[in-house]
């Protein structure tokens, strides 16, 4: 329904606007409707301004900036309507050290109300885990669970 979409959009936008500067350590961002008069058909645009930079076409952002921006949106939707669990497969791959730290903070926060399952190669991300599973292929072609650590 129109009203439900409008309320959901407003709520997610509020979370997105709040989360962005936490992930980017500053800057501003917002979502806008391409056609506010057509709530049943309108698309959604993203306007993003990293700290100290100007608003530009979101396509000009760097690989790491795009990932952080996408995470801000995903987590914003998540805050509005948490699903009981969230699976993130190597979303931290393009991030530098500073961004990994901020990403991990927000993940820990989400984990207070949802279960978060992370796949990562990054040692700092592993440190925030409550439970750590290692997978190996000691025997070629055959996956083996090698250890559980309650950290």
């Amino acid at each position: 329904s129109r009203r439900l979409f409008a309320e959901t959009f407003e709520a997610v936008n509020r979370h997105f606007t709040a989360l962005f500067p936490r992930l980017f350590r500053g800057g501003t961002a917002e979502l806008t409707l391409t056609d506010p008069d057509d709530l049943l058909g309108t698309g959604i645009e993203m306007h993003v301004r990293p700290p100290g930079k100007k608003v530009q076409n979101v396509t000009l952002l760097s690989g790491g900036e795009k990932a952080m921006c996408a995470l801000a949106l995903v987590f914003a939707v998540f805050r509005h309507k948490p699903s009981p669990f969230c699976l993130l497969d190597e979303v931290d791959a393009p991030l530098d050290d500073a961004n990994i730290g901020r990403f991990n903070e927000v993940v820990r926060e989400m984990a207070e109300t949802s279960q978060v399952v992370l796949i990562t190669h990054n040692k700092r991300t592993m440190e925030i885990a409550d439970m750590l599973y290692g997978i190996t292929m000691e025997e070629s072609g055959v996956s083996k669970l090698v250890g559980v650590r309650m950290t």
């Binding site: 996408a70 497969d89 820990r108 072609g141 996956s143």
Partner: protein, 174 residues
């Protein structure tokens, strides 16, 4: 509904029966390239009802059955079971409402389609999808919300997406 346990047997590279227990908070899965981490994500998408082989990186649904290795022959069956705590937080069909645990299971045999099982009873795909939709994980295409699972390499899509694709995210959260 909280995740409690995932049991995998014969699914992709998981020749051995493998059990992953979930608790509150953050669970991290680690290991070298190609060891099977993303296959675990595929197994969860699959047991929750994924119908597209491409969404699981395969060409046909049978590609999820252990195809063999240098030392071992292929298996004939793949099975995945995902067990939830029924903590009362979700809209669950009446017949499950009193249970502490709800386990959804899917098995596929070569040259035969998939079987769907809920708490040991043969069920239909639609039953699985209704249950998942009720948990708050499912409601989008593929039977689950686009923002609950972010596959490897897919995070950039939200930014490069067209305005009307991004709309779907809001619709699913509505």
């Amino acid at each position: 509904m909280k995740l409690k346990r995932l049991d995998i047997h014969g699914f992709k590279s998981f020749y051995h029966r493998t059990t992953i227990a979930f608790d509150d908070g953050v669970t991290a899965i680690v290991g070298p390239n190609g060891c099977g981490k993303s296959n675990i994500v595929d197994s969860m998408k699959w047991v929750m009802g994924e119908q597209g082989a491409k969404a699981l990186r395969g060409g046909a649904m049978e590609d999820v059955i252990f195809a063999g290795s240098e030392k071992r022959g292929p298996m004939g069956i793949a099975e995945v079971r995902l067990t939830f705590h029924n903590d009362g937080s979700a809209e669950v069909p009446t017949r499950f409402r009193e249970l502490d645990e709800i386990a959804i299971e899917r098995r596929i045999e070569r040259d035969r389609g998939s079987d769907y099982i809920i708490n040991k009873q043969r069920s239909r795909l639609a039953d699985i999808q209704d249950l998942i939709a009720g948990t708050g994980v499912g409601s989008g295409p593929g039977g689950r919300r686009a923002y609950a699972i972010i596959e490897q390499g897919q995070i950039g899509r939200l930014v490069s997406a067209k305005a009307d694709e991004r709309r779907l995210l809001i619709e699913e959260a509505a």
